[in-house]
Amino acid sequence: MGQTFAEKILARKSGRGQVAPGEIVEITPDVALSHDNTAAIIGIFQQMGGRRVHRPAMHAIFLDHAVPAPSTKHAENHRVIREFVREQGISNFFDVGRGICHQVLVEEGLALPGEVVLGSDSHTPHAGVMGAFAAGIGRSEMASIWAVGSLWLRVPESMKLTVRGRFQPGVTAKDLALWVIGDLGADGGLYMSVEWHGEGIEAMGLAERAVLPNMMAEMGAKNCYVPPDRIALEYLTGRAKRVFEPVYPDEDAEYTEAIEYDAGVIEPMVACPHAVDNVQPLSKVAGTRIDQAFLGTCTNGRLEDLQAAARVLEGKRIAHGTRMIVIPASSQVYVAALRAGYIETLLNAGAIVESPGCGPCMGNHMGVPAVGEITISSANRNFQGRMGTKESEIYLANPAVVAASAVAGEITHPKDL
């Protein structure tokens, strides 16, 4: 019988010929990703009696969640992490300003086909855009990997999502992700390995594809996989930090669920407060007043996203009384957007551009809402209280809709400006 991506890669990595869903395997990851929570992990590592991390080259540590430090306490966290990284000889350390871990891992050629990435962040499945098996874990689990080099994983069931056809103009991978999450629910992919296939996926660039694994965390998925095709392999030429061997599922692999979607029927979608699966077509929620528009995050803070927003904002002004916050996902995105003139367009329209990082996404700083305010955001999560106060609302949409809504001061389709 054929094997799914998850079965094949976990069999290979655990040194078994074949594994079945439900089996527990012990895996040494190729990449162990952590971020600002590294300070807390250091504490747990020490409680475990750990002194030296297992194989320093395996670790990738990023400062991105609250950067540059908004308070002394955050700064102290960062200081502890820098000191630890130096002591332990961890070379894949990306300090304040480099960008969001999931984006930077890809840019640095550390998210590789056929490799296993375990990260103490729930959006770790993002790295599946390059054909890696990438799953989120807890802090204690990361500390345990530092100590002994491996971790138990349950071999997941697999779900195959096939996308036929092409998007209508103005529809993006974000809309597809929201459509699917709305269709299957916040636990529609619980514990599963979600694979994306079909010509609808092959037609997308990497920036757009990345939205899919990034958002599958919101459907409960363990990991998410996009088959590395010519586009992905070309991107890795001269960038990949190691020699890699891609893993592809067998044609006759057995999936717990297989669903087909027609890209052509999808319209721009919006996730309404306070759940990512509370999804409505844009046309149903257009006209909802907003106070703030936020463009950024690991979901939609890439060059193509800033470009989409700049196209909408060219020659326009953000509505009086509305503010727009833009945070490029990485320093490379920032530089490329500067060169392309997008940053100037965004600033001229009245947007605020801040340094790369997670910003207000989980309520840390750089544009948290006031009580009673409404934000439209390009992020992946709109839970109550997410951006700092539970008395505020978050709508999730694609970057062009976020920009158009900033101009109108209400949720708006770009074509209606």
Binding site: I24, E26, T28, D36, N37, A39, A40, G43, I44, Q47, M48, G49, G50, H54, R55, H65, A66, S71, K73, H74, N77, S120, D121, S122, T124, G136, I137, G138, R139, S140, E141, A143, S144, I145, A147, V148, G149, S150, W152, R154, A186, D187, L190, Y191, E218, G220, K222, A275, D277, M362, G363, N364, R381, F383, Q384, G385, R386, G388, K390
Partner: protein, 171 residues
């Protein structure tokens, strides 16, 4: 503790980690003893005031979805919640529970039968939940995972492995 007896706090589906332990505290509160005062802060303000040791959380589908933050488990562990029973758990939350040796059990029939505020009894070894409306079995944990649970959690488990000179992964 093999027999857990406590009052039930019953909640619905898709309760996320942002309402269990708000994200704004994740980098400012690192002392576990400070975490209980924020447990379920944005879900149920009555909880912190009323919770007693061994109380049991009973929930619907996908309890603990969202962020991987371990504090969403630690804050309940520190509150001395006895167990969490749900229709299903978000996967990282579930792992975090087992790694903290906080019993995370699934049993749809028991979730249906149990009412908010009643006192129920969970027999971890026997694999049964007893409530006013009957007795329900729940599936045992896989042996590989039970070892972590039996050690008292992942920290203790890994400490033992290190002390025994175990370098699980290939160098």
């Amino acid at each position: 503790m093999k027999l857990i007896r406590g009052r039930v706090w019953k909640y619905g589906d898709n309760v996320n980690t942002d309402v269990i332990f708000p994200g704004k505290y994740t980098y400012t509160i690192s002392d576990p003893t400070e975490m209980p005062q924020h447990a379920l802060e944005d879900l149920d303000p009555r909880f912190v005031k009323g919770v007693r040791p061994n109380d049991i959380i009973v929930a619907g589908r996908n309890w603990g979805c969202g962020s991987s933050r371990e504090q969403a488990v630690t804050c309940l562990k520190e509150t001395r919640v006895g167990a969490i029973l749900a229709r299903s758990f978000a996967r990282i939350y579930y792992r975090n529970c087992l790694n903290a040796a906080l019993p995370a059990l699934t049993c749809n029939e028991a979730v249906d039968a149990i009412v908010d505020g009643e006192t129920v009894e969970i027999d971890l070894e026997g694999g049964t939940i007893r409530c006013a409306r009957g007795e329900f079995p729940f599936p045992a944990l896989p042996p590989a995972v039970m070892a972590i649970f039996d050690a008292g959690g992942l920290v203790a488990y890994t400490r033992r492995r290190l002390e025994a000179g175990d370098r699980g992964g290939q160098a």
